[in-house]
Symmetry: C2
Subunit: 351 residues, 2 copies
């Protein structure tokens, strides 16, 4: 069933992803309603409605859900109580299963393994003895990560030698953790895939990602991989979508290794590594997501051009005059202060 | 001088053009402020600020102009008094000269003729005797048009035989008019061109327009014209931009005739026949306009793909389910009722 024109799409989170989702919703004739505590959230400028309230404000959540025809989100660490309250009044897409799976690194890795997909070796870590046991099994260097929260490299530590273990664990301040083995990968790629309410699946071409200081720096499409690996990547994404009975756009990060593809992580939302679709495709990932959650047919994901997306992080924003002199598509997020590590915008360049 | 990020761009008129301008402004890191009497103006949903006041509300106009760093517009029939009031506090781009010229068909045709550009034969009409004299000189059929206001074929009448003259004139209810001779054109094309504050000019490839019931139906790029005509079209647009000391995007409609190009009309704003740039170019006409009026460098207008833009008029909106099943870019304007002749949206299709 397709939502009629003028239906209201609730979006939890008013950052750049929410902002671009709101714009896409508007293009398709829907009204966007942002829920974000910050009065000056980037998405508030591009959506007709904005509820500025915290994620534990029960009355605000209920009022928000009651006026929305469907609710989606731009980040995965939404308090469960907030989801419960919203779901009493409006459907949430992608669904709870995707959120529960991707919101916990241990649950996610376990889910992927059980699907038969390759991942880095991993082990649950609750204390120093279990960390030491995991290091014995997985070897060095290992990457210790909190099970929940943390992004762009935050809440993580590398353990290169046994003596690093105790300090790394102390740095997590008691949070449940997971140890992941080191992967000697050739490159990192990601697949942006979508699944509709009636189960149709569409994928964009895999993009090749380069990180800098733990943050995505560029995505280039097409990725330098064989046609066989390209097919593998798409099939992996499709299998994950099916298993989660997923509705919406999903980002899947993959490591290319000599032995094939390993899944690094999944994100149940539009993804930074899919921003190239704004220039490369007639229907970009934001429109694709809105189409999926409103019951419209999915776009085919066909690529019209080769593109490199580059993030503008912190002071990169100072390069704007030079960037504006090129034939590139500029997307700024309307954030006031260019703090270090803060994603201020991105550009899409034809290659 | 480039306006800093976060500067506020005032936009007079909150229809679909204002809406897409506001989105482009946001992408470049600017804040959009819509001035439109209608509370539910299409652009209000995509801009951070909206003043819902009439164009003769002096206090509202002043308050609006005071918070804007630059003001632009999506339609050309803005009351002169409103412009005066705004210009006391903020620059208006494109400037008054472009508005005065294009806002009056007689002034416009005279301006074009004096530039040495070809137009349809024309004559001022004030009363029945001057109309008859004009018809004697120009011949039949002639098209009688009000000098000001009127769009999409409104305020116009065709005079096929002498007996039509009186009724045609009566239909204008006393408005000053212009008689234009009939042009037997092969096709209509348009050029979307831009000029920056420092005088740089950039043009998009000419598009070929097809009208239906007096309203633009499709624009296809590239237009089926010779390279020589393509160059002519671009040179004509550049000459108009220079002569008006223009800043911003300008639409120029041209007739292709066996004798060469004739200028049909100019529009001092982003133009419906330039919507194809949203899919065909890295920097579309809306971003180009915002770049021009804020002092950013212009994009080169390079086309990455062949595109056909199709307007969705009135009940065309009912074709949406079928259109959504194709690999096309959909742009709806958020208008509630699909009245006959009302532009509800458009689609861009790769060809």
């Amino acid at each position: 069933m397709t939502l009629p024109i003028g239906s209201r799409i609730g979006i939890l989170g008013g950052g750049q992803l929410g902002r671009m989702l709101a714009t896409a919703a508007g293009r398709l004739g829907f009204e966007a309603h942002i829920y974000d505590p910050a009065q000056n959230a980037p998405a508030a400028a591009t959506a007709r409605y904005h509820t500025a309230a915290s994620y534990d404000d029960e009355a605000a959540l209920t009022a928000f859900a009651k006026v929305c025809d469907v609710v989606t989100y731009e980040f995965e660490n939404i308090p469960v109580a907030a989801l419960d309250r919203i779901e009493a009044h409006a459907p949430i897409h992608p669904g709870r299963r995707a959120l529960a799976t991707s919101g916990d690194r241990l649950t996610e890795k376990t889910f992927l393994s059980e699907l038969g997909l390759g991942t880095a070796p991993f082990s649950a870590v609750d204390d120093l003895p279990s960390l030491k046991e995991a290091l014995d099994r997985i070897g060095y260097p290992g990457r210790l990560k909190t099970r929940t929260l943390g992004y762009d490299g935050k809440g993580q530590a590398t353990i290169s030698i046994p003596d690093d273990a105790e300090a790394a664990l102390a740095g997590l301040i008691g949070a449940s953790a997971i140890l992941e083995g080191h992967i000697d990968f050739i490159r990192e790629i990601s697949v942006i895939a979508a699944r509709s309410i009636d189960g149709a699946v569409a994928c964009y071409d895999p993009g090749e990602n380069v990180h800098k200081d733990g943050i995505l720096h560029t995505t280039t499409v097409p990725a330098r991989i064989s046609p066989a690996l390209r097919t593998d990547a798409v099939l992996i994404a499709a299998r994950i979508l099916e298993a989660l009975d997923y509705v919406g756009v999903l980002g899947v990060e993959l490591f290319v290794t000599p032995e094939g593809l390993l899944v690094n992580e999944i994100a149940p939302r539009v993804h930074n590594s899919g921003h190239w679709t704004q220039l490369g495709c007639a229907i970009d990932q934001f429109e694709q997501h809105i189409r999926a959650i409103t019951g419209l047919p999915l776009g085919p994901g066909t690529r019209q051009s080769d593109v490199t997306m580059e993030n503008l992080i912190g002071d990169d924003i100072g390069r704007l005059p030079d960037l504006a002199a090129e034939n590139i598509q500029i997307h700024l997020y309307g954030k006031a202060e260019p703090r270090p590590g803060r994603k201020m915008g991105h550009v899409n360049r034809l290659t």
